[in-house]
């Protein structure tokens, strides 16, 4: 479903460096945290693009940049071919309607002092032309119903709901402006296993029903595999491998992807010990001082001199999908049969 037509959202060479400053009144910059360093993504209508990576890899910064909550240091975000940074006020308002976000923490993402009805209706206070005032109570009920909540609960406060229910409220708010793209930033990672599956099903149902495109950001590889059509793997501010879910999960070419997949615990006793575990040594280097050349080389068992000298580009190296490794080689990590 991915390669049909034009991408709805394109991220081009996106870079975000946060300055590290010292001093109180007269601040001077003593360095930069390279949170995102040259990320390219394309999101097609109706598809789910998974973005996986461990904490600190920059995946959440990507979502903030797309949402305009942070300004990129360089690079572009194109929505339907138009650069978001060059948009007029009016265009930007339209962009806000079209691209919405669901946050990770269902406790922090809802204002505890507002009723659920007010939370879901707030987008219409900001964009009053979407739904006429008289219609709003009815539409709130419809949205709550749509995400599987009892519409009679519109007058309750967030603390009266459990985590999974709150996450549904967050989804309802994001849908209020009828977006075409939903950025989901770890939407299920704070939820219990049994509830996580409910919310994943909901997201899938909504996509089928409403033709939404998802940028699904998560650290849980199993969750991303279940929902995504295509997947990109991030490490230390860069994408190291991308492709269809089958490419990335069944034929990973980058050593980091391989290590990541091998580290995921399997759930069936029969598969216990069936896969070869690649246990990485050491920690992720600081994004304020990333290694030269390939950023993964400090933890990589394949690293050679060329990895120090040359930054590997994210290109197809004969595996049928792009990977950023000089020594890319497909390996089947998880045997599921």
């Amino acid at each position: 479903m991915s390669d049909t037509g034009e991408p709805i959202l394109v991220v081009k060479d996106l870079v975000k460096h946060f300055p590290l400053t010292q001093g109180i009144v007269f601040q001077r910059t003593v360095g930069h945290v390279q949170a995102v360093d040259g990320v390219n993504l394309e999101l097609y209508p109706g598809e789910t693009m998974g973005l996986v990576g461990e904490s600190g890899c920059g995946k959440s910064t990507v979502s903030k940049l797309i949402m305009g909550l942070e300004k990129p240091t360089s690079g572009q975000i194109l929505f339907e071919g138009k650069d978001v940074a060059a948009m007029s006020r009016r265009e930007l308002r339209r962009y806000r309607r079209q691209v919405q976000i669901v946050f990770q923490d269902p406790y922090a993402s809802l204002n505890p002092r507002m009723t659920v009805g007010n939370i879901v209706a707030e987008p219409w206070d900001i964009h009053p032309d979407v739904v006429p005032r008289k219609e709003r109570p009815r539409r709130v009920r419809e949205l709550l119903d749509l995400v599987g909540l009892n519409p009679d609960y519109a007058n309750r406060y967030p603390h009266q709901f459990s985590g999974g229910q709150r996450q549904r409220i967050g989804v309802a708010r994001a849908l209020a402006l009828r977006p075409s793209v939903l950025v989901c930033d770890e939407p299920v990672s704070a939820l219990d296993v049994s509830v996580q599956a409910q919310v994943m099903n909901l997201l899938e149902d909504l996509q089928d029903e409403l033709g939404l495109s998802y940028l699904f950001i998560a650290h849980d590889l199993s969750v991303v595999r279940h929902l995504s059509d295509r997947v990109a793997v991030m490490y230390l501010g860069r994408i190291v491998e991308s492709g269809t879910h089958a490419d990335v999960y069944d034929q990973p070419a980058h050593p980091y992807t391989q290590a990541l997949l091998s580290a995921v615990p399997v759930h069936e006793p029969a598969l216990r010990g069936a896969k070869e575990r690649i246990v990485l040594t050491g920690d992720v280097p600081s994004p304020a001082d990333p290694p030269s050349g390939c950023r993964f080389r400090t933890r990589c068992w394949k690293a050679q001199q060329i990895c120090v000298d040359q930054d590997p580009a994210l290109v197809d190296r004969g595996q049928g999908h792009p990977s950023a490794c000089h020594f890319a080689e497909s390996v089947e990590i998880v045997h599921t049969d």
């Binding site: 339907e80 923490d105 002092r113 987008p123 964009h127 749509l146 549904r168 009828r178």
Partner: protein, 326 residues
């Protein structure tokens, strides 16, 4: 696809008449969780903050005592006639000058032979007005500056923080004293203004702290992602979090500023005659302290009780609103 326009016709129509996807699981399944106890410890989150606080306040002797005193003084300020028939400005008999309390005149007479009870009762009004209006000024300055500093951060924050530090260096009464000493007229407005100008710093820090701690919360980010204006984000999402701490602070500060006004008036740099104010009464009585102690005693008692009422209420409020103590 690229030229899809914004008219809603081409947009996915949903939330229409038949929103069919109700996840099989939940809709019918929500009867059990009126209060979600997060972990076994029973961490019950706020938002029921105010109703919980009210329930606790109603049972707090500290609050009831403070509120009782406050009510009496409030009525006294609004309608002093309810407490006394005497006119505080009417000289009854100069011969009664500074006479001690009797059955007719409960608080005796002042130096000019006027009913002292009426004078003390009528003094409540000025104290109340100065207390509330100066705190109102403090909140205006403090909330504005705190919001600006906290929300924008960076150099604005640095500059405002330094200004605050400078004002902190000057004691409230001394600062107001200096400002008032160069003023021609020193009425209620001037005294309130002087107190506000030198008393806003704590409010600013309180608000700034709250804004800083909340401005990166996900629900604020969500509002920003929706395109909400700065004003809306501040007033709807950030500042409501500051209401509780500011209310506690303001309650106590009303009391403190009433005392400060009395101090200024006593020193001769606050309110001026013919205003009826406790500070002035105490000041006038000081000369006769040896033979007519009641002239100092009664206004002092009233002043202390009024200040006490605000401090008691503020203390009780703090206990009730601070979830950590529960």
């Amino acid at each position: 696809m690229t030229e899809r326009q914004q008219d809603s016709g081409t947009e996915p129509a949903y939330g229409g008449d038949s929103p069919t996807i109700v996840d099989s699981s939940t809709a019918e399944e929500q009867r059990t969780e009126d209060v979600t106890v997060a972990e076994a410890g029973g961490e019950i989150r706020q938002a029921s903050l105010w109703s919980d606080a009210w329930r606790q306040l109603r049972r707090s002797p500290t609050f009831l005592l403070g509120a009782g005193l406050f009510l009496i003084f409030a009525v006294m300020a609004v309608a002093p006639q309810l407490f006394t028939n005497a006119d505080p400005r009417q000289v009854i008999d100069l011969g009664l000058s500074a006479d001690p309390p009797t059955g007719d005149a409960w608080f005796g007479y002042d130096i000019q032979g006027r009913d002292y009870f009426a004078n003390v009762v009528y003094g409540a009004r000025v104290s109340m007005i100065v207390g509330f209006s100066s705190v109102l000024g403090v909140l205006l300055i403090g909330v504005t500056m705190g919001s600006l500093a906290g929300f924008y951060g960076g150099w604005i924050d640095s500059v405002l923080a330094r200004i605050t530090d400078v004002f902190y260096g000057l004691p409230l009464v001394l600062g107001a004293f200096l400002l008032l000493s160069v003023m021609q007229n020193r009425g209620i407005a001037q005294v309130s203004l002087a107190l506000a100008i030198f008393g806003w710093m704590t409010a600013m820090r309180l608000v700034r702290g709250t804004v800083v701690s909340v401005k990166d919360a996900d629900y604020v980010q969500a509002a920003r992602a929706l395109g909400a204006s700065t004003w809306r984000i501040l007033t709807r999402h950030i500042l409501p979090n500051a209401v509780a701490p500011v209310l506690v602070y303001a309650t106590i500060t009303v009391g403190l500023f009433i005392a400060a006004e009395a101090t200024l008036s006593f020193l001769g740099f606050g309110l001026q005659l013919p205003e009826i104010a406790w500070g002035l009464q105490i000041s006038a009585g000081m000369g006769r302290l040896r033979d007519s102690a009641h002239l100092v005693f009664f206004p002092s008692i009233f002043l202390s009780l009024m200040v006490l009422s605000f401090i008691l209420m503020g203390d009780a409020l703090r206990d009730a609103l601070d979830p950590k103590l529960r």
